[in-house]
């Protein structure tokens, strides 16, 4: 019996040691799923790149429902994963409660700000990237009318819209920017039918370049634009140029992969606080590849790159909707 107990005790100690020694990083994907061709997949790409470069391993959890957030977070923290990265603003509240319970674990959250000593909050300057694609839209538009279709009407999406409108008006002050939100509930992220109807409505109003920042709804936007004659669309988050080659003007890419890779590289005990990923540190940008090479001329690209440099150096500032919850360029 005593022998048995000592074996069990040894096993438990071993397990504990193994648990603390491993300290593999972990990543939690939000509801969209790991392979959403967009936001979460980009995070996965970053994690995978880290694993390939360092030969390390990482743990991952995919959210299946809202209720799992806290449970998943605590499970990873209990298991000794460190650092833990999570994608999506929806983790904000949960992390605020969980983080103080695990002071030795480093957390990184993307797209939200959580003020805890052991949390790194990664936010992107979507307005800067949107400004650049707005410039491209204004240059590609023949009618002088361009459109924006957002998913759920939340401040983050308004930030996209506002930067876009500013970019359009910077190139063509007489341009008209149409803006629609798909809805006010989370269902607005997955309604491609309504997305394509909105696109048709904007085309009917004269828009010939339409920017979709709407998750799964954007699939419908890109499709409807590709079906119409001489209408271009702009993708978001990941590079979506390949979805309809020659019909997608460009994509506003958000380098979630870079943010994840950096968090994994920095390892446990990384620098916390708010980390802004903007044009200055390759956090956002516009996608240029074989699929849209014919749509974006060298002259267009050069001009937009010049603007990007000005924004990065602080010479040009793009209005951030978050700063005052208002947009001087667009009426919502």
């Amino acid at each position: 019996m005593t022998f048995m107990r000592s074996i069990l005790g040894a096993a438990a100690t071993l397990a504990l040691v193994a648990g603390t020694a491993a300290a593999d990083p972990a990543i939690i994907f939000d509801l969209g799923g790991k392979f959403d061709k967009s936001f979460n997949e980009s995070a996965y790409t970053g994690a995978k790149r880290w694993a390939e470069a360092n030969g390390g391993e990482f743990r991952e959890i995919e959210m299946q429902s809202e209720a799992q957030r806290e449970q998943a977070l605590r499970r990873l923290a209990e298991a000794g994963s460190n650092p833990i990265v999570m994608t999506g603003f929806a983790f904000g509240n949960v992390l605020g409660e969980v983080a103080p319970d695990y002071p030795d674990t480093s957390f990184a959250i993307i797209d939200a700000v959580v003020e805890q000593p052991n949390v790194r909050s990664v936010v992107f300057s979507e307005h800067e990237g949107s400004y650049l694609v707005g410039m491209l839209a204004a240059k590609a538009s023949a009618s002088g009318t361009v459109g924006f279709i957002g998913g759920m009407d939340i401040p983050l999406i308004r930030k996209f819209a506002c930067g876009y409108a500013e970019g359009v008006l910077a190139v063509n002050p007489d341009a008209t920017v149409l803006s629609n939100m798909t809805g006010t509930t989370p269902a607005a992220w997955n309604d491609p039918v309504k997305g394509s109807e909105l696109t048709k409505a904007q085309i009917a109003q004269g828009a010939d370049v339409i920017y979709a920042a709407a998750g799964g709804t954007g699939v419908g936007v890109l499709q409807a634009a590709a079906d119409a004659d001489s209408v271009l669309s702009i993708g978001v988050d990941s590079n979506q140029n390949h979805l309809h080659p020659g019909k997608v003007l460009t994509s506003m890419v958000k380098r979630v992969d870079n943010a994840v890779e950096k968090a994994f590289n920095d390892g446990p005990g990384f620098e916390t606080g708010v980390m802004v990923m903007g044009l200055a540190n390759d956090g956002v940008g516009f996608a240029l590849d074989d699929n849209n090479a014919e749509l974006v001329s060298d002259e267009m690209a050069a001009e937009v790159n010049a603007a990007a440099e000005k924004i990065a150096s602080g010479e040009l500032s793009v209005h951030d909707y978050y700063s005052d919850n208002a947009c001087p360029h667009l009426q919502f």
């Binding site: 149409l178 939100m181 997955n190 309604d191 491609p192 039918v193 109807e197 048709k200 409505a201 979805l243």
Partner: protein, 322 residues
């Protein structure tokens, strides 16, 4: 508002109303026979997925449509077995099917295509192409009537016309055939139908199957006609709006058409903020337009405008007296 804008809005109305109309007629058949159907959403969703998946794999939209209808019929059969044969609670069975469809479609889509719970985009023959009605081009020049015919009526996918034709067909079946009389009777007083020697169970199963067929077409239209592929939860609550339309229409086919067109018009208007701003003298929030179908239904249910009386035996499983 100029004439061409009006045409565009009505055009959009017709597209938005079609899935509602098909689902509403499906609910009409089911509820007229005494089986409440909360699971319209589930049947549309499962059909939307299987029609897109099969259309993608085979390249034929017609095979996709068949697969969609088939999957919807399977769900209808589950609902039938649960609520007719085993006399379970019809609402709970419907809700369970809604959950099942929402989870199952994403799971299978992820397993088959690895694209985050969606199907790849459909191309060419895997989609329903717009159909140009005969003489549409030559009549387009005629004032008023020309644009109405060429732009509003013509140029939709074939399923839109199927949905429109389903309205008189439903009316005829329900109110002009022996089957329809019995079907309506079984929803009001199944005991009387049973006494007359007609099988209550068979009638209810056939009603549920018709509902499955119509929901199958609605789902296929969403993923292969309106859209080009399946995206998770793409029905986005249209099954519930169809239920609201059914109450609004007081369980009658022609009223169902007008209710669905009205709800479609509200949705289409919500898409055109520029037009809304011009029509209404005050600032009209788009969200209000989106919620009007529900508000109108509540008004009807509260008895302010006429009275909506559901089929009397609706929701209660039939137990033969011993």
């Amino acid at each position: 508002m100029d004439f061409s804008t009006l045409i565009q809005i009505l055009d959009s109305t017709l597209r938005m109303a079609t899935p509602l109309l098909l689902a509403c007629l499906a609910g009409l058949f089911s509820e007229r026979s005494g089986i409440f159907d909360i699971g319209l959403e589930a049947k549309m969703l499962i059909s939307a997925f299987f029609s897109a998946a099969v259309a993608y794999e085979t390249g034929s939209v017609w095979l996709g449509l068949l697969a969609g209808i088939g999957s919807s019929l399977v769900f209808a059969a589950i609902h039938g077995v649960a609520s007719i044969t085993f006399r379970g609670n019809q609402l709970i069975s419907g809700v369970a099917l809604n959950f099942l469809a929402a989870g199952m479609t994403v799971l299978i889509a992820q397993n088959w295509f690895q694209q985050g719970g969606r199907t790849p985009s459909l191309m060419g023959g895997a989609r329903f192409e717009p159909l140009t009605l005969p003489f549409a081009d030559s009549l387009a020049a005629v004032p008023i009537f020309g644009p109405l015919y060429a732009e509003l009526l013509s140029g939709h996918s074939i399923l839109v016309y199927v949905a429109l034709l389903a309205v008189p067909a439903s009316w005829w079946v329900l109110f002009r055939t022996r089957f329809g009389l019995r079907l309506r009777a079984v929803g009001e007083n199944p005991a009387a139908v049973d006494t007359a020697g007609v099988s209550v169970v068979a009638l209810r199963y056939s009603a549920v199957a018709i509902a499955g067929l119509l929901c199958g077409i609605a789902g296929a239209y969403m993923s292969t006609g309106l859209g080009a592929g399946f995206v998770k939860d793409m029905t986005a609550g249209r099954g519930y709006i169809a239920l609201a339309a059914l109450i609004f229409a007081k369980w009658r086919p022609w009223y169902a058409l007008s209710a669905c067109l009205l709800f479609g018009l509200l949705q289409a208007l919500a898409l055109r903020t520029d037009v809304v701003a011009r029509i209404f003298p005050f600032e009209m929030p788009v969200q209000l337009l989106d919620s009007l179908p529900y508000i109108l239904t509540v008004v009807i249910l509260a008895g302010f405008v006429g009275k909506a009386i559901p089929p009397r035996a609706g929701g209660t499983p039939y137990v033969k007296e011993r």
